[in-house]
Structure formats: C-alpha cells, structure tokens
C-alpha cells in the first residue's frame, strides 16, 4: 500500500504532473486500494485549508508584492549602500544587506531575489563584477527571505508540525544573521583576490550626512518589521494578525507616503498574490490527504523506528536529515518539500530529543539552499532572467556560495543555541 503510494507519487513527479495533482492522485490510488471512501480526500483538504493561521500565507505574499511595487526596495538598497557600499566588495555586501532588510518585510525568497537583483546586478556589473558572479550573489542572498522572519516556509512548518509560528519567527533571526555575514565575508574575500569593486573614497562627515539622509528616506520601511515583529512579541497581535497589519501598512506606505502604487496597480498586485497563494495552497491541501494516509499506515512511526535501529545518535539522525533535505531541495520546491517531509520527520526529531523549533529552522534553512541548487531552484531562475544568462553560466561562481551556505546549514544544525536562544529569552 505504502509502496504503491510512494511509487505512484514518484512516477507522477518524474513525468512532470503538477505536485498538487501528484499528491492527490497517488492518494486516490492508495485510498481505492484500501477500500476507503474517496470523500476522505475532501475532508482532509478542507480541514487543512480551514485554518486561520494559514491565512498568514496569502497576507505575507500580498504584503511582499505591495512592498516590491511600493518603492521600498530601492530605499533599502540606498541605505545599505551608504552603510557598507564603501568597503572592498562593498556592492556585493550591499546586495546581501539589502536582502536582509528586505527579508524582514517579505516572506518569500524569490521576491527578495527579484527585488534586489533588478537594481543591483546591473550596478555590480558596472563596478567590475562578472555578471554571473553578481547573479550568484543575488540568488544566494535571496534565500534569507524565508530565513529572516516573516517566513512563509516557517508558517507552513509551524502548521504542519504544530509548532508556534511566533517562536519559529524569532528563532530565525540569528541563523539569518549568520548566513548574511558569512556571505558578506565570502564576497569581500573574492573581491580582494580578483580585485574588483575597489574601495571608494571615504569621508566620515560626508558619510554620516549621507547615512542620515538614507535613514530618513527609508525610515518608514524600516519601521515595518518593528511594527510587525515587535507587534508579535509585544503582545499586540498574533502572527496571522501581524500579516494583515503588514498588508495595510505596505498599502498605506506605497499609496500615501511614497506614492508609487497607483489605484490601477492594485488589481494586478492582488491577482498576482492570489495566484501565487493558490498554487502553494493547493499543494498544502492535497498534501494533507497524503499525510493522512501516511499516518494511518503509521509511516512516521516506522521511519522513526528504522532510523533508531540504524543509530540512536541525534547527530547521525541530523546528518541523514541534512543529506535528504539537500537532495530533495535540488529537485523539489521548498514548500512542497516541507509539507510532505515535516509530518514524517518532525515527530522522529522529537524522539531524538531535538527541539521542535530548532528542527523547524533546520528544515527551513536546509531546504532554502534548494532554491539555489540546480536543476530546480526558483532563485536561480529569477536571477538568471534578470541577468539574462543561462543557469549553466551561473555554475562556477555558484559553487563558492553553495559551499558557504552548506557550511552554514551544518553550523545551524549542530549549534542549536543559535535557534533556541532568542525564543528562550521570551520566557
């Protein structure tokens, strides 16, 4: 039964049947074999979608799109440029830092990549960066979009594994910081060796003046994460309510303050966000019936048992998890992977004594690397389109970035305090 379920899923995946359809259809085959009425599928689908917490997904997607249109990204780039643009490899560092800023507003990685790439890839090229290197910078720093809160991946993990989304959000901060800093370090080393993007003149008084102007200009954009995340931790609202506040705030800034969203832009933004949401949520919906069959067949239990028989060491377990998620991430879209894998592995992780919040961060960070690994990686697609290059042209510089990102995954996996310290401060 279970082998039929997995084999049919795999075959459907391989022949490029949509992920949502593959999940639903293989479940229908399994239900029929077991003689369970197919209406179970509808029950599972509606139970999974009928969730108030899930509403954070459409709202954070919409907020991200409003922000992208509303002129916030260029102000953030400007600020980052003043802050770190003058160091060696500074513009690459600007890309990373802007990604970190933008990540506090957006729940998605592809949006983050696009928001910074469209301005910074051409700018980097002007400063002597090879174009493929510039694209690799944007693609890899874009993954911070789902690691620094808010994060759609974390919302979905929280729902699937029944972990507090608020705790996951705050747990993502330090890992995000680690990844951001390690990427900046890599870029400045490469810039030093290859001699591009040399230091521009630096005058302290001039710099402070520019910093003040850039800060003033981007103040309202910077205020947003403070309202959203501060609001969650100050007890003003839940993560779901925070997402709707983000929408209202992003709309307000884009239309009233920066005046870059006109009324005629609104419907296209809404429709884009709706489609993006629906496509993700259909996977959530049909994965729920798949997960239901797995539970009925007690698959998580058996997986846990066989891993435990193989080794009782949490380190060995995590190495297996890292490997499996890396391979999955190469071929599969991040959210779909989380939805399918989290219900199987999260209970096992708890058995191994791993904190569920920490495990969530491991999954999100590990699968986020998948957005930058060929053949299937949404950040790569976005960066390549903006840079107007082919994916294979990106391969050489990408190897360096992947090396650093994988190192980060290991650090985040085996140093739990990076993920658990901030949530513990709330107690």
């Amino acid at each position: 039964m279970i082998s039929t379920l997995f084999i049919s899923l795999l075959v459907l995946f391989v022949i490029s049947v949509p992920i949502a359809v593959s999940l639903g259809l293989s479940s229908i085959i399994a239900l029929s074999l077991k003689g369970i009425p197919l209406i179970t599928l509808a029950q599972s689908v509606f139970e999974s979608l009928d969730s108030f917490s899930l509403m954070a997904v459409p709202f954070f997607i919409l907020a991200g799109n409003l922000m992208q249109t509303g002129g916030i990204s260029k102000r953030l780039i400007n600020l980052a440029n003043v802050l770190v643009g003058w160091i060696k490899g500074g513009l690459g560092a600007v890309a990373v830092l802007t990604s970190m800023f933008f990540a506090t507003l957006s729940g998605s990685s592809s949006a983050t990549t696009a928001a910074i790439g469209s301005t910074l890839i051409p700018a980097m090229e002007k400063k002597g960066y090879p174009r493929n290197f510039a694209a690799a910078v944007c693609a890899s720093s874009g993954e911070l979009g789902v690691i620094i809160p808010p994060s759609i991946s974390m919302i979905v993990y929280g729902l699937v594994a029944n972990v507090s989304i608020g705790s996951l959000f705050i747990a993502g901060f330090l890992p995000g910081l680690l990844i951001g800093l390690s990427l900046i370090l890599l870029i400045s080393i490469v810039a030093r060796i290859r001699g591009f993007d040399t230091v521009s003149s630096f005058q302290k008084s001039q710099w402070l003046k520019e910093l003040w102007i850039a800060f003033k200009d981007s103040f309202l954009a910077l205020l947003m994460p403070i309202i959203i995340l501060g609001g969650i931790y100050a007890g003003w609202f839940t993560p779901t309510e925070a997402s709707v506040v983000a929408v209202v705030y992003g709309f307000f800034i884009g239309t009233v303050v920066y005046r870059e969203i006109r009324m005629k832009d609104l419907m296209p933004i809404l429709i884009r966000s709706t489609l993006a949401t629906s496509i993700i949520m259909l996977i959530v919906a049909f994965a729920s019936i798949f997960a239901y069959i797995l539970t009925m067949e007690q698959v998580p239990h058996h997986v846990g048992k066989s891993i435990a028989e193989f080794s009782d060491s949490p380190v060995v377990f995590l190495i297996l998890v890292n490997l499996m998620l890396f391979i999955t991430g190469m071929f599969m879209e991040t959210l779909a992977s989380i939805i399918i894998i989290a219900p199987i592995l999260a209970p096992v992780a708890i058995q191994f004594g791993i904190d569920p919040v920490h495990f969530g961060i491991i999954m999100v960070v590990n699968l986020a690397v998948g957005m930058v690994t060929p053949p299937v990686g949404v950040n790569l697609f976005v960066a390549c389109q903006i840079a107007n290059i082919r994916i294979d042209q990106l391969a050489r510089p990408l190897v360096l970035f992947l090396g650093v990102l994988i190192l980060d995954v290991f650090i985040i996996s085996y140093v739990p305090i990076l993920s658990t310290w901030l949530p513990s401060l709330l107690q």
Binding site: V21, F46, M55, T69, A276, S278, M281, A285, P375, I386
Partner: protein
Amino acid sequence: MQFINFVDKFNRILEILAGIAVIVMTLVVFLQVIVRFGLTAIGWDLSVPWTEELARYLMIWVIFIGGAIATRKGKLIAVEALVVALPALPGKLIKFVSHIVSLVFYAIIFTIGLEWAKFGLSETAPVMKFPMVYVYSALVVSAGIMILNTISFLLEIFIKKIDIREASVDEEVEDALAEYKNKGEGVTQ
C-alpha cells in the same frame, strides 16, 4: 478562437472576484485586530466572532478559484527536470501525458466534489449558521473550471503550435519578476 476567448473572459471575471475576496479578507481580519487591539484600549469592548470564520471561508474559495485560474496557463508547480532533459519528441510526449493525467484527476475531484457539496447540506457553519454547502462547493466548482481551463490550454497549444514543454508559466518566477518587467529595468545584452 472563440471558445478560448470566452474562457479567457470568464477567467478574467474570476480573477477580479478573487481579488475582491482578498480585499474583503484583509478588511475583515484587520477589523478584528482593530477591535481587540484598538477599541479595547479605549475601553470599548466588542466582539466580532464572525470575522475569523468569514475570512477562513473566503480564503478557501480564493484558493480553489485561484488554483483553477492557474491551470489556464499551466501554472501549477511541477518537477520539470526530466521533460527538459529528454530529447524533444519524448519530452513533448511525456508533457502531454502529464496534462492528460491532470485532466483525469480533475474529473475524479469533480465527482468527489459533488458528493462533498451534498455532504455540506448536513452541516452548519459554527458562528454564521449557514449550511456548509456554500463553502464545500468550492471543490466541485474549482474542478469544473480546471477541466475547462486545461482543455483550453491544450487546445491553444495545438492551434498555435506552441512547444508544450515551454507552454507552462512558472508563476513564482513570473510573480517575482513582475515588477522588474513592468519597469523594464535590468540587464540587456
């Protein structure tokens, strides 16, 4: 072709309806925040238990309608690695088979959806007290539109002689690039 034009107009209407539903969702949930966070602070106690329920049910409709619209351009996320790696003929053939498999799936969902909508007659919404058929019928409606849209998608490919492997649009990439394409920024060769 007239049929495809009609389908596209129909999808356009659905898009706008979904967009409006998202606006209502936003307003309703925002109201809930205002009521608890804002009005309580000024000593005005009010509760709006219907906000959560209404927003949830709207979201369900938006997802099913949005998902159905996405099938018009083959936008549902799929693993394309094999299709791209294979030579043209087997690649195209497999891609075509995958669309037919999807059609079969939508047809099964349509029948399940009918039964489910009927089941909805025997349940009521906990707060707003209307029969759940108003929510549950989203499934059958969505499956119906998916069938219509997938047929249009295949017809269009056939008529315009488009390479079926390249006909699908990756919505997430499109979405991320929408703004950049709008402004025509970026790199040119």
